[in-house]
């Protein structure tokens, strides 16, 4: 782990300190893990609203006459389905079908796109795309110029109404538009990583703190609280959203991760990695990402805990923890196909002792 002094800080770092946040290292950034308690912040997002600093996330811009065709030959989903001002979840693969990153791509103009990528993957994504670039596209990494805030929860829309003009708000899930705040254009998208309705804001770092304070102020009467990465992780885990480096990495394919719905095998452009995925489909998966819950009272799962069936190791936990909503231990785990059926009971090894867990249907929590 890098020394604290090597960690990057977002423009909101002084605001987090003033709010008494506990800070932790995440993907090279010094980020708030919680302000009061992860459980309270989780509950606020499920029942009211929470405000997250997501300035660490990356913004790559792709434009040029060849942008659409080029991106469609790299990303698994089909961007031809996107009209201007809309986005989709999609995946960038290596030649072997393993995952370079998972991201959201937005069509800003006919031939201009925003790729919203994971903080820890910005450089790798940029380098991967840069190597594949052709004369008809240009690629820019503007991550350092943008800060980001996520407003999530059932009260998010009401709080947005208080802050931005009526006409300048995204109506549909994954819609994007520009709306002015203090004379600066803010990108507002209707998306999130919590399993709740919500919005993400990306803008120049100079107005970010003002936007953060304005949203907190407007949201005060609606139960809005600042929420840290701790709650962000328990919220996304309940919704079964993958986290790069856990459910996805360069050796895990989206078929194994259960993301078939975001793979377009029949679009005109063959995306990088398609042959490897076709082969994997044809031969059948040997392992799969599943949802697990602890049966009865037992220690909460943690990443890398081994999973055993009939005395043999059949996989391991990729993300785990205590579910504040279900009030029990839950996990995502990569297991052999023979252990992936719903209802299968496995032994999870915690501090050298077995804890019984059971494969259940994904997700743990669904509202959207």
């Amino acid at each position: 782990m890098p020394e604290t002094s090597d960690l990057r800080e977002t423009p909101l770092a002084p605001a987090h300190k003033a709010l008494g946040a506990r800070m932790v290292e995440f993907g090279g950034w010094n980020m708030p893990v919680s302000y009061t308690s992860i459980l309270d912040e989780h509950k606020a997002v499920r029942e009211k609203a929470g405000l997250f600093d997501i300035s660490h996330m990356g913004q790559l811009f792709v434009s040029g006459t060849g942008a659409e065709a080029w991106l469609n030959s790299l990303l698994t989903n089909d961007i031809r389905r996107l009209s201007v001002g809309h986005g989709q979840y999609t995946i960038l693969l290596n030649d072997g079908g393993g995952t370079v990153d998972d991201l959201i791509v937005y069509r800003l103009e006919e031939q201009r796109y925003l790729l919203l990528v994971n903080a820890s993957r910005i450089e790798d994504d940029y380098n991967w795309l840069d190597r594949k670039k052709n004369a008809n596209v240009s690629l820019e990494n503007l991550s350092a110029d943008f800060g980001g805030i996520a407003l999530q929860g059932p009260e998010a829309e009401t709080i947005l109404h208080k802050t931005f003009d009526e006409e300048k708000r995204p109506i549909k899930r994954n819609q994007l538009l520009f709306s002015p705040f203090k004379g600066i254009d803010v990108i507002i998208t209707r998306t999130g990583y919590t399993g709740e309705d919500g919005f993400e804001f990306f803008c120049s770092t100079e107005v970010l703190t003002d936007l953060w304070n304005k949203l907190l102020e407007e949201g005060k009467n609606y139960g809005l609280v600042p929420a840290g990465l701790g709650a962000r992780d328990t919220l996304r885990l309940e919704a079964c959203y993958p986290l790069y480096g856990h459910e996805l990495d360069s050796g895990i394919t989206p078929l194994e991760a259960g993301l078939q719905g975001f793979l377009c095998f029949d679009k005109p452009e063959k995306f990088t990695g398609i042959e490897a995925l076709r082969k994997q489909k044809q031969e059948g998966l040997t392992r799969k990402s599943v949802a697990l819950e602890v049966v009865g009272v037992g220690a909460p799962p943690r990443a890398q805990y081994p999973l055993m069936k009939d005395g043999l190791k059949v996989g391991e936990v990729t993300s785990g923890g205590h579910s504040p909503t279900l009030k029990k231990g839950i996990a995502l785990a990569l297991v052999e196909i023979s252990a992936s059926q719903v209802g299968t009971k496995l032994e999870m090894i915690v501090r050298e002792k077995p804890v019984t867990v059971q494969v259940i249907k994904k997700p743990f929590y669904r509202k959207l």
Binding site: V33, I38, L39, P300, R302, H322, R351
Partner: protein, 126 residues
């Protein structure tokens, strides 16, 4: 933060209260605050013998698991079974209802290796 004067403290943030030949062990206010949101406590088995600084139990917060080390050697004679259904007692009352286990001391003189409240607070830098 609250650290009672009548207790002994380990550098690993457990407290020990000695009554005759029996010790009661829990984690300090500082430790519970640093962990926050305790959601599971793994209690030791009654009858197990532990040496000073051996792992004796585990406390899990939403975020992470932390080992609890026995501040003194002996045999585990009682555990706080209330923590199985109410692990949050470790947060809400770390020195009373949130105690973790009781131990029959085999080497009471080891108490001399522990810190008094003044030294413990100095360790925390307060």
């Amino acid at each position: 933060m609250n650290h009672p004067e009548n207790l002994l403290y380990a550098e690993s943030h457990e407290w020990l209260s000695i009554d005759g030949n029996t010790g009661t062990v829990g984690i300090t206010d500082h430790a519970q605050n640093a962990l926050s949101d305790v959601v599971f406590v793994e209690l030791p088995k009654i009858g197990k013998t532990v040496k000073q600084k051996d792992t004796a139990a585990a406390v899990e917060s939403v975020k992470a698991a932390s080992d609890i080390y026995s501040p003194i050697s002996g045999e585990i004679i009682e555990v706080n079974t209330k923590l199985s259904s109410n692990p949050e007692l470790v947060n809400s009352s770390p020195y009373t209802d949130g105690w973790i286990f009781k131990i029959k001391l085999s080497s009471p003189e080891e108490a001399g290796n522990l810190k008094n409240v003044k030294d413990y607070q100095a360790l925390l830098g307060k």
